[in-house]
């Protein structure tokens, strides 16, 4: 039931957004008369399907977008948030769904960007590093101040973003899907920090598609659907099922039913893969495993234990120092991506904005990028436009990409819908091996259900799937068998995922336990 108190005008709110509408330049009505209020010192969830308008609403509170109509009050003062700097000056900070970091600069430089401690004309590097260290310590968010942002894993990027907002003195913190890229341990860690912040009077807006997290950390929640607010609730008064229903308009089943795997021949064979990164850290340490046709092999592990490096090696985005990786007997190490794809390998990349899409190209152009030379899409030297339109429309429909037309730029889609575009392309090119790195990241419950089903369906049809996910539930539920990575090594192999518990996994993931070489060796099926 809606929280009646929440809409009483005499309560004090730090933020009131009233009757907010937003129409984007391309004519998309992303918000339609939304009311949104924040009480001081609460953690407030903003929930809704992909494209419901959550990010849009928050961008307006952060001054990145201007409302088409409606009013915003901060501490009961009517304000015009014409730019982020105005919002920051009022103590509003935002961590965006997509990273807003400069990849070529160091973590510390990114931290102080725009508020640069200067030494004459130059950035005072030492000071920047000191500030970064100080805040990282204070809020217990570990980052490497001197590393270049381009080289750090997404989990760390996320922490840099949060620290960035805190350094700027935010008292009202907007977190747009901060946990999408974090492991459960990191999330637990983050929640501890958020509770601490809350006790100190910080107000937090928390956007997430993960219902468990919402139930755990938030006090109240606002649900959005198709640009409208569907009501405000006290978190303790509603159940997960009710929330799903309010968001999607139907019941959602997240537990994917799957038959037992019938693994056939080995498709991906990795042996003794080794990689030491440029700071001399061993990221892959004699890694060996197999993935067979018809099975889903999950990789669990705390982010930064070699998962990213492994995927990079398998798709030739990086070169290992030693070892082999073959797909159906053909070595893929150092092979151009074009040929890797010809051998039937698909990749849902971890960083969708970097590799996954061309933001300024249309949805249509994005979904055909890997198959633009396919016979069926060409007629002699020219494109067969009709076939391309059909292909795009079919994928948009199958994967429920929320858009106006196939000509819409992908960069203008909501985060979850961008992910759907990537997944649609990678799942639909008749792969023999799918490397799925966080495939449901940032996707709403309804679409997550769909993508998981699709992944199971593909594997049961004989595709080999290597699944990396920071979401422990996801790996445990989807995988047929599972390996845990720790420090670039396999710490454990579980042939069956049925009777695994979070706690057991946790011990392996943190390196507290390790299986014997013999047990681990069973992941190689020769």
């Amino acid at each position: 039931m809606p929280d009646e108190k929440a809409v009483r005008p005499d309560e004090t709110y730090v933020v009131r957004m009233e009757g907010i509408s937003k129409i984007y330049p391309n004519g998309v009505a992303a918000n339609r008369g939304v009311d949104f209020r924040l009480k001081k010192g609460e953690i407030h969830a903003l929930m809704g399907e992909n494209g419901a308008g959550k990010s849009t609403l928050m961008k307006m509170l952060f001054g990145l977008e201007q409302p088409t109509s409606g009013e915003i009050y901060v501490n009961d003062q009517k304000v015009t948030l014409s730019s982020p700097s105005v919002a920051i000056s009022m103590g509003i900070g935002m961590v965006h769904q997509h990273f807003m970091l400069v990849p070529s600069l160091s973590v510390a430089e990114n931290m102080v960007l725009g508020m640069v401690p200067r030494k004459g004309m130059f950035i005072d590097r030492a000071k920047a590093i000191a500030i970064t260290k100080e805040y990282a310590e204070k809020y217990n968010l570990h980052v490497e101040p001197e590393a270049k942002v381009a080289d750090i894993p997404v989990g760390m990027k996320q922490k840099v973003e949060i620290l960035k907002a805190l350094v700027r003195g935010a008292k009202i913190l907007i977190l747009d899907e901060p946990t999408a890229v974090l492991t459960s341990q990191e999330t637990a860690e983050l929640f501890r920090e958020l509770r601490g912040l809350k006790e100190n009077g910080y107000t937090i807006v928390f956007i997430s598609h993960k219902l468990n997290e919402i139930m755990e950390i938030t006090d109240r929640l606002t649900i959005m659907r198709a640009g409208r607010s569907m009501g405000v609730y006290n978190t303790c008064d509603v159940t997960k099922e009710e929330i799903s229903r309010l968001m999607v308009g139907r019941d959602v089943v997240l537990n994917v039913q799957k038959d037992a795997a019938q693994p056939a021949q080995t498709v991906l064979r990795v042996r003794d893969l080794e990689y030491t990164n440029e700071w001399g850290k061993k990221m892959l340490d004699h890694l060996s495993f197999d993935v067979r046709s018809g099975e889903i092999l999950g990789i669990a592990g705390v982010e930064g234990n070699g998962q990213k490096e492994l995927i990079d090696m398998l798709f030739n985005l990086n070169t290992p120092n030693g070892g082999t990786a073959t797909v159906n007997g053909v070595s893929v190490i150092g092979m151009p991506q074009r040929r890797i794809r010809e051998h039937g390998v698909s990749l849902v990349p971890e960083d969708r904005m970097l590799y996954g899409i061309a933001a300024n190209a249309s949805i249509e152009e994005n979904v055909i990028s890997d198959r633009c030379s396919a016979k069926r899409l060409n007629r002699g030297p020219l494109f067969n436009m009709k076939a391309i339109h059909e292909e795009a429309d079919r994928l948009i429909q199958d994967y429920t990409v929320l858009c106006k037309t196939r000509k819409q730029h992908v960069g203008m889609l909501s985060g979850g819908n961008i992910q759907k575009v990537v997944v649609a392309r990678e799942f639909s090119n008749d792969p023999v091996l799918i490397l799925a790195d966080q495939p449901t990241r940032g996707i709403d419950v309804g679409a997550t259900e769909f993508i998981r089903k699709k992944l199971v369906e593909l594997s049961r049809a004989g595709v080999a799937v290597l699944l990396v996910s920071a979401d422990l539930n996801e790996v445990m539920e989807l995988s047929d068998s599972l390996i845990v990575m720790h420090n670039g090594k396999i710490a454990a192999y579980f042939k069956d995922t049925k009777d695994l518990t979070d706690d057991m996994m946790g011990e392996y993931m943190l390196g507290l336990r390790e299986q014997s070489a013999e047990q681990i060796g069973r992941v190689c099926h020769d």
Binding site: Q337, R338, R341, Y355, E365, S369, C372, P381
Partner: protein, 379 residues
């Protein structure tokens, strides 16, 4: 937003940009015009504007304004080389390759074509074709240099191609001066092109509007189709938008980067060759002709879209002609052209220009659409 509103918006924006630019031009002309009093200055300004705006196509005399075919064909003829350089730059910029070699390219193309036209006898129809293709091929090969340096050694194609322009110019000047000049003439020029090599004229009024104009239009169509309806053009555009994405998608990134510059070079060279055989009898260029720079302006005006290149070329050719006439008949400095061009350019390029007006249109459209949907639901 509906198609109709979109078009109305583009038109309003274009017209307004031109009006503002003209207003600025008028002020400048007014300031620089000669005349004693305010009235006289005003009259001089009016006369100058008339030259700029209508003289490129119309003759004004005592009997009123009359359309002048010769002036139209003049403008069309001057579009020929800049259509080619415009297309050339479009393709290279689409791949995010800031190759500025169209300028040297058009000169080298012209020179190579001229050499074939002078020294390699051939049949009548085949001769200009071979000569022009040779011009294109020479520049295509030349562009391999910045392209390969870029893909192999990551050398900036911009710097490389820019320097290449001057190397090309001085090598050609050197060759002309020392070996190839017709010593019987008072100035540095080559021997005459063979009769068989000349490109036929479309009209016989001295405008030099040759068959080359039609070729240019055909090439526009080919380039338009190439960029938007073939896998190669698509690949070029995607690489321009996100190179990492393209590589990950399985495109031959390095190959296509080279291809885009070679194609760009070919187009520029062809343009030079056609301009040579359609307009001149001998090769006498002793400096870079400037068409390459104009090509960059055109590509930016056209938003790297080949289909819009003819329009942008016409616009620039018209403006150039107007300024020439203004300089000749109205006693206004020719440099003003650059200022007027700059102002118009500024407004076209400024994306935010009129964004408020556009937003109003969009909101109106969206609201109507929503109302329509809601209405349908209730019905």
């Amino acid at each position: 937003m509906t198609k109709k509103r979109e078009i109305i918006f583009s038109l309003v924006r274009g017209l307004l940009a031109i009006c503002i630019a003209l207003f600025v031009a008028m002020l400048l002309i007014f300031i620089s015009s000669e005349g004693a009093g305010f009235g006289e200055k005003l009259r001089a300004t009016g006369a100058a504007l008339k030259q700029l705006l209508i003289a490129p196509l119309f003759r004004t005399g005592r009997s009123g304004v009359s359309f002048d075919v010769k002036r139209l064909t003049d403008v069309l003829a001057s579009m020929i080389p800049i259509i080619f350089t415009g297309l050339s730059v479009c393709i290279m910029f689409s791949a995010n390759q800031f190759n500025l070699g169209a300028e040297g390219g058009i000169m080298l193309g012209a020179f190579t074509t001229a050499m074939v036209a002078i020294y390699v006898p051939m049949g009548a129809v085949i001769h200009p074709i071979v000569a022009v293709l040779a011009g294109g091929a020479a520049v295509a090969v030349l562009m391999l240099l910045p392209a390969l340096l870029k893909t192999k050694l990551d050398v900036s194609e911009m710097v490389c191609s820019l320097m290449l322009n001057y190397i090309v110019m001085y090598v050609i000047k050197f060759l002309m001066n020392t070996y190839l000049a017709d010593k019987t003439k008072g100035q540095i020029q080559s021997y005459e092109f063979l009769q068989s090599a000349k490109i036929a004229q479309l009209v016989d009024n001295g405008s030099k509007l040759s068959v080359g104009f039609l070729v240019a239009l055909v090439v526009v169509v080919i380039c338009g189709l190439f960029m938007f309806n073939t896998r190669w053009g698509y690949t070029i555009r995607m690489i321009g938008l996100n190179q990492d994405f393209s590589r990950y998608s399985g495109m031959k990134v390095a190959g296509v980067i080279v291809l885009s510059q070679v194609l760009g070079g070919f187009l520029a060279g062809m343009g030079g060759g056609i301009e040579m055989l359609g307009r001149y009898n001998t090769f006498s260029w002793s400096a870079l002709p400037g068409y390459g720079w104009t090509g960059i302006t055109i590509a930016i005006l056209a938003g790297n879209n080949p289909w819009l290149v003819p329009l942008a070329s016409f616009f620039l050719a018209y403006l150039t002609k107007g300024c020439e006439l203004m300089a000749t008949y109205a006693n206004v400095p020719a440099q003003l052209l650059d200022i007027v061009q700059g102002v118009i350019f500024l407004f076209f390029a400024a994306e935010q220009f009129l964004s408020r007006y556009r937003q109003k249109l969009v909101v109106k459209s969206a609201q109507e659409e929503l109302a329509g949907k809601e209405g349908a639901k209730h019905a």
